[in-house]
Symmetry: C2
């Protein structure tokens, strides 16, 4: 396996995201453009934070468990969204359950509409305050992308897709992911929206990497 972790000629960046994760929102909105500009292949890797948090003894988002951290996060996210010119409306429910949306991504394979779907789900959650856990909201998101929702939502509930997402979450844990968003370039792990550009640079400029 090459250092870049890809099987093709171009380096690959894997983007590990969870639809409930606040800081994954600005990362998801920018990752495709940044990778394209740097000629880096992008692999969308949805996973679930729930099992990771439970393993750490948390039954809720740490932003809810630790109020000072949560208050700070919302303000920090607001500053980031102003800078990135992204709409932000604090969701009336946090965290929302991203399970079904993550399964839809798994069911989508490498469909051309996948990046747009990911962004639209984040916007539904963090800009439009819609409950992304409900099939009706996801169906509406898919419809606006010109995708027939029913077969996808059905596939998302198949044993195969459920297992795929479970395996992906296990792989995330095995590769050291402990929060979202995360980026991997081969074995190199980057955590947080703040590391997005570092991760892309790492993938695109092997010569400048650490030894």
């Amino acid at each position: 396996m090459s250092r870049a972790g890809g099987d093709g000629m171009r380096p690959e960046l894997e983007f590990w995201f969870e639809f409930a994760s606040t800081y994954s929102y600005p990362a998801a909105m920018r990752v495709e453009g940044l990778c394209a500009a740097a000629d880096v292949r992008l692999r969308w890797r949805p996973f679930l934070l729930g099992p990771i948090f439970v393993a750490q003894g948390w039954n809720d988002s740490p932003f809810n468990i630790y109020p000072a951290k949560g208050r700070y996060m919302w303000r920090d996210l607001e500053r980031i969204c102003v800078r990135e010119r992204l709409p932000l409306r604090r969701p009336s429910q946090f965290p929302r359950n991203g399970l079904l949306a993550a399964r839809v991504v798994c069911a989508a394979g490498d469909a051309a509409w996948l990046p747009a779907f990911v962004r639209a789900v984040y916007q539904a959650n963090f800009a439009d305050d819609r409950d992304i856990a409900t099939p009706a909201v996801l169906a509406d998101v898919l419809m606006r992308l010109g995708v027939t929702a029913e077969p996808l939502l059905a596939a998302a509930q198949s044993t195969e897709v459920k297992q795929l997402l479970r395996a992906q979450t296990e792989e995330a844990i095995r590769r050291g992911v402990f929060g979202a968003p995360a980026f991997t370039v081969g074995e190199e792990l980057f955590w947080g929206n703040d590391r997005l550009t570092d991760a892309v640079a790492w993938a695109s400029a092997p010569a400048e990497r650490l030894g």
Copy 2:
């Protein structure tokens, strides 16, 4: 009180740091230069993470309690130190107790050697693997700065200085600080070495702030 939180003409940035904190190291090494370049006054604000962590139910650094987070942090810190051309040797003991060093800072008032002392203590801990909890190490650090150590180490153990550090930690909590390093500009809080330049920019360019 002005938005910038300073009592003078120039905006003020308060730098909240804990000598045991890994990410405070690169922040401490850069904060004075960045503030000077932006014409921002800098106030050094040592505090203790211990009481904050205990209040969150942790009796150790979260980097020790959550091993995946800890492994990542050491690698991430390595990348940061390479980029900033800072020496880094992973301390044989982590976290080290920064209590005495923080008290020396409180005892120092606004002595001219204070910034150099802060940097030297971080280097002792994270570049030279010395035990900054011991008076002998701090005495050596002070001596190399041309400061007579004994009266300072004695003052650091005075009731007045102990109370000063305690009050500063309480103020940090009251102002929303939950980790180190942190930066405040008036009521605006920034957390983490990653936010150092944002905090300096916030202090120096009120016109570009959020409304």
